[in-house]
Symmetry: C2
Subunit: 348 residues, 2 copies
């Protein structure tokens, strides 16, 4: 990525010189010095009650809103955390971002989101932009990044958390689980049930490395057990309609059990199976990944894997927040395994 890429200020909106209320205004009104106001804001207990009252009044009267931008500059580090996910349309990530935002907000941190559309170059661009905010931390999805991204991040000294995947060598901290193991567990379930043939339905496997790993684990385990298993894939998003499409393709040469990239795909399979009069699990066994809300409601309920998105979010937040108070370093890199749960249900 060339250097000319960051033009951080195109012709800007003519913000009229509105006299924003500043800390100095507050100080004047309260008849104290600006630094005292600053101190009060950051550590109210450090100023006398008499002054605290005056400052508080001034703030309310004036409707003062602090300027984090200025604060960030002075303090050499803003209170934003940049979170970069492949896609917000994906329920896993929107769930994680949602929980993360909530948790970080408690710690006084603002969440900056970006989505890479599963592109490593796009990710690099986002990281570049993120670093321009001198963020308190950068959260990335997965442990596969291009070289420039890694270099940028390491060089910046910014705390980094990679989430939703384990196994690469972490830049700093990693929180997630092994997707290959997920695939293996599903395969094992199918093997235990005695199904004699199987397939994995995958979407965007060349971009979604985690889904690819699940498929690989699945196929490997099947092969080890001597159960014939195929991979059907395409490059469309992991949606229900794509599930229908993938399953249609699979039906040209049917199998006894099918594992899906995720629950959305599985939902598509369920519908298409209904349309074709295929009974689940009698004629076709079905498994998904994600344990999204509807999985348990399906008819029949879906066998799936619960990755606990919020557990990941909690752990990530913890990494960031704790790092934030203690200046501990050199303890990295670390991997935190949040595990996953196979949820056996009637579908397969």
């Amino acid at each position: 990525m060339a250097s000319g890429d960051f033009n951080h200020s195109r012709p800007q909106r003519k913000r009229r010189k509105m006299q924003r209320v500043t800390m100095t205004d507050v100080a004047n009104t309260a008849d104290v010095s600006p630094s005292t106001v600053s101190l009060y804001l950051r550590k109210p207990s450090a100023v006398s009650e008499r002054i605290a009252i005056r400052v508080r009044r001034a703030i309310d009267d004036l409707g003062y809103v602090p300027n984090y931008v200025a604060g960030g500059l002075a303090a050499a580090g803003s209170r934003v955390v940049s979170v970069i996910v492949p896609s917000l349309r994906n329920a896993f990530f929107s769930e994680t971002v949602s929980e993360l935002e909530r948790l970080l907000a408690r710690g006084g941190l603002q969440t900056l989101v970006g989505h890479s559309e599963y592109s490593l170059d796009q990710e690099e661009a986002l990281v570049r932009a993120a670093l321009s905010w001198a963020p308190a931390a950068v959260v990335l999805t997965g442990c596969r990044h291009n070289d420039a991204t890694r270099k940028l991040l390491i060089r910046s000294q910014t705390p980094v958390v990679e989430m939703w995947e384990l196994g690469g060598d972490p830049i700093d901290q990693a929180v997630g689980f092994s997707h290959e193991q997920v695939g293996r567990h599903i395969a094992q379930r199918f093997i235990d049930q005695g199904y004699e043939s199987a397939a994995f339905l995958g979407a965007r496997l060349d971009e979604d490395f985690r889904a690819a790993q699940r498929s690989q684990g699945f196929l490997a385990e099947m092969e080890a057990a001597g159960v014939p298993a195929r991979l059907i894939e395409n490059n469309a998003p992991a949606s229900t309609s794509n599930g229908v499409r993938l399953f249609e393709e699979l039906c040209m040469a049917p199998v006894r059990a099918v594992a899906c990239s995720n629950d959305m795909i599985a939902l598509g399979v369920l519908f298409e199976a209904q349309r074709r009069g295929l009974s689940i699990p009698t004629q076709l066994a079905l498994a998904g990944f994600g344990d999204l809300d509807f999985a348990a409601q399906m008819v029949p309920p879906l066998t799936t894997v619960r990755p606990s998105a919020d557990k990941i979010a909690r752990k990530v937040a913890e990494c960031i927040l704790s790092r934030d108070v203690s200046g501990d370093d050199e303890s990295r890199p670390v991997e935190h395994d949040t595990g996953f749960t196979l949820v056996p249900r009637a579908s397969g």
Copy 2:
């Protein structure tokens, strides 16, 4: 909200005084003045090719990453847009945020997200935090806000876009459609089909004002047509499992047609109906809202309403981006109706 709320800098991570590469460093290396570097970054065409080359080299050699925080301070206005939605778990909003983020990024704007959990007070807190970033714009969901929020926003002179709903009096710009009309259209469809009784299944109606308006429109239209219609509601999220729950409650006194808060709820109804052996649409007609991906795949396909989340996102981005270049003011407030489409399918 009291004044003590914003402590924008808790004991901060001890960032060692790492010598971040600054613009001055680049200037020195390239043997030009800092302002020339700044100019090059913002308007490459304004510097001579000779110097451009030197600067570019220096940037690459040094691995310079611009500091937006400093830039924002100097330019009196950062290039972030704060987007506040009720929930990111909701597919409508994650879709909108996703698209918005993409579009704004093109314009060099970073997206700051916050979710209010459908609470007006929470929203106020988020707006307060957002304004601390001197954002280029604030995007809110819906047109219902508390007084403090409105005051804060108006006072700040920040461009505001309220999305996903029309009908209130906009603070600045509004992009969306009438949810009441959505309800009426669905009702009309049911009336046209000759169903003699109906119900609306609603989740969180006292917090989700938009869903509440859909229910009101629906009920009003039904009443006008003399078709008996009931409202079944609870305070759980608008999920598939809640759809099941609401429908179970409805089944104590069945009706001929049921309209749902959204498609997730409708999916729950479909499953529960299947379990009870109720045939759709023969015995029960069903309609949703959202036209989520799976709606068209359901068995039978779901009659629903398509709000076009990305159309909203596009229009919002347009409002922000265009405002950004031309300093036009005083043209507000404006409402942009993005409309919606009733998508009739086999379910009802």
